[in-house]
């Protein structure tokens, strides 16, 4: 029995693609070797946000006096971990329910392209079966990138998976890499009392963000006792003793850092090995599967989405790619009357959920200048915001960038309380090709953090009221 669509991998790329396929009338199956929901639900977005919430609750307790509350408390590390696993399990079960509800066959095992329209699945019991499909969508995701100097041993040099389920809280930790994953874990452990040092190769943390964001985050992290070493590189780690001794090359020479454990958070490598790409001649490029704007590979009938293709390695990107890919297949087969629009990778928001939160979309100031725009920049400090003051979260700012000529909204960069919930406004407004005028004419509720986006725009145009 052949399927219309078979998806390999059940992360937010794969399971969403499968559901959309089923909705559009395709007979659909999904193959997963481990747990439904992929990295995102089991070892990524969701369990980390559960950990971070525990840290934030703990912070409120530590600062309760500032709110007129007398409280003391301790974080029970294993209870915090257990809660996070419970949240992940719940969401993974949710995917199971969704598969059933959408009548998608779930095939557990390791899948490998066998021939055109055929995937071989090896179950955990060692038995193999062939699954036939008209359309195959590869959504195998990614894993921790490993540096030669920083081989993950799972005990003293760990990746994100181990960092989420450590048997006990380390007293000290070196975090290598300061992208979203690195700073989220850094914040989490530091808040719970671990002595954290972040080592970053570039000259600033969260290097994909606007430079001012990096500076503000570093300032806040340092205030909270996190050590930050930028323009620095771990060249080797000695794990022979009780803890680890990491050799770090800095601008000022070599330093030895000692800690209980090293977390390697230096990026993502796509899962493209052993899945039959070479055998079927599916092209890859720089370690990822090469696709067109509708996620077709060079081999007809084979598609790829999510972390295993180029583009931001983010869950919301994977999901949208899955939807576009499937809708376009349906469009081609006349099962759907609307050809989906290609994804605009320049309008994808990125969020980091430490405290303060970071959220951004579009061009940084430097990117806008480099692209030749004459720009108007507005920055509003949240120390001047009523809601921030009432909430006791005065750190951070909102920065907006507009094209001076036509008023196009080029980018938004926010750091502060709750900003991750506020970035969608910019995404939608950019999608609708707003100019600054329409946003200023849209009433933002008072008192919110979100009204400060409007204030920042006013700053850009010299009409700022509250600063």
């Amino acid at each position: 029995m052949a399927y219309d669509v078979v998806v390999l991998g059940s992360g937010p790329g794969g399971y969403v693609a499968a559901i959309r396929a089923s909705q559009l009338g395709f007979k659909t199956a999904i193959i997963e070797k481990e747990a439904l929901g992929g990295i995102c639900l089991n070892w990524g977005c969701i369990p980390t946000k559960a950990l971070l919430k525990s840290a934030q609750v703990f912070e409120y307790i530590k600062h309760s006096k500032d709110y007129g509350i007398e409280a003391t408390g301790t974080a029970d590390f294993s209870a915090v971990i257990k809660r996070s696993r419970g949240v992940a399990d719940k969401m993974s079960k949710g995917v199971q329910f969704l598969m059933k509800k959408n009548k998608i066959d779930v095939i557990m095992g390791f899948g490998k392209l066998k021939a055109k329209g055929q995937i071989e699945v090896k179950g955990t019991d060692g038995k193999s079966q062939i699954v036939e499909a008209k359309n195959i969508i590869l959504a195998t995701g990614g894993r921790s990138r490993e540096l030669p100097s920083l081989k993950i041993d799972g005990k003293k040099i760990i990746g994100y998976r181990e960092a989420m389920v450590l048997p006990q809280q380390p007293k000290s930790m070196i975090v290598v890499g300061s992208g979203a994953i690195g700073v989220e874990f850094g914040y989490f452990y530091a808040t719970l009392g671990t002595k954290v040092t972040i080592v970053e190769f570039m000259d600033r943390i969260v290097p994909v963000e606007d430079e001012e964001i990096s500076k503000e985050l570093a300032k806040n992290f340092k205030k909270n006792g996190i050590e930050i070493m930028t323009s620095s590189e771990v060249t080797s780690v000695d794990t022979s003793g009780n803890g680890v001794k990491a050799k770090v090359k800095t601008k000022d020479g070599e330093v030895i850092l000692e800690a209980d454990v090293v977390l390697s958070a230096v990026g993502v490598a796509a899962n493209i090995e052993g899945i039959g790409l070479e055998e079927l001649g599916v092209k890859t490029e720089k370690g990822k599967i090469a696709v067109d704007k509708y996620y077709k590979t060079n081999v007809p009938g084979i598609y790829a989405i999510g972390d295993c293709v180029p583009g931001q390695a983010l869950a919301h990107v994977a999901s949208k790619e899955g939807i576009i890919c499937v809708e376009n297949i349906a469009y081609g087969e006349k099962k759907y009357n609307h050809q989906p629009e290609a994804l605009d990778y320049g309008n994808v928001p990125g969020c980091t959920y430490c405290t303060p939160e970071v959220a951004s979309v579009g061009m940084t100031e430097k990117q806008a200048k480099d692209a030749g725009y004459e720009i108007k920049v507005g920055k509003f400090p949240l120390s001047a915001a009523g809601k921030a003051t009432a909430a006791g979260h005065n750190e951070g700012f909102i920065k907006v960038i507009f094209d001076a000529k036509y008023g196009e909204w080029l980018g938004t960069h926010m750091i502060g309380y709750n900003v991750t919930e506020m970035i969608a406004e910019t995404v939608v407004a950019r999608k609708l090709e707003t100019t600054y005028h329409e946003v200023l004419d849209s009433i933002h509720p008072h008192p919110t953090m979100s009204e400060n986006i409007k204030e920042a725009i006013e700053v850009a145009y010299g009409e700022a009221i509250h600063i």
């Binding site: 008023g407 609708l432 100019t435 005028h437 329409e438 004419d441």
Partner: protein, 60 residues
């Protein structure tokens, strides 16, 4: 006022205005925009009356 088409021939109109115009058979390039920067918005379509001889409304 002139119709809100940019020099590149692109019509500046809100998504809703485009949909309304298409549904009512109005040639949107004939509509004058009253929104920001001359953008055509819903009220321009609602208030649109085709000039004699021009922009004839097709039967829906």
């Amino acid at each position: 006022p002139a119709a809100a088409s940019a020099s590149n021939g692109r019509v500046l109109a809100s998504p809703l205005a485009k949909k309304l115009a298409a549904d009512k058979g109005i040639d949107i390039s004939k509509v004058a925009g009253s929104g920001d920067g001359g953008r055509i918005i819903k009220r321009d379509i609602d208030n649109y009356t085709p000039a004699a001889g021009g922009g004839q409304a097709a039967a829906a």
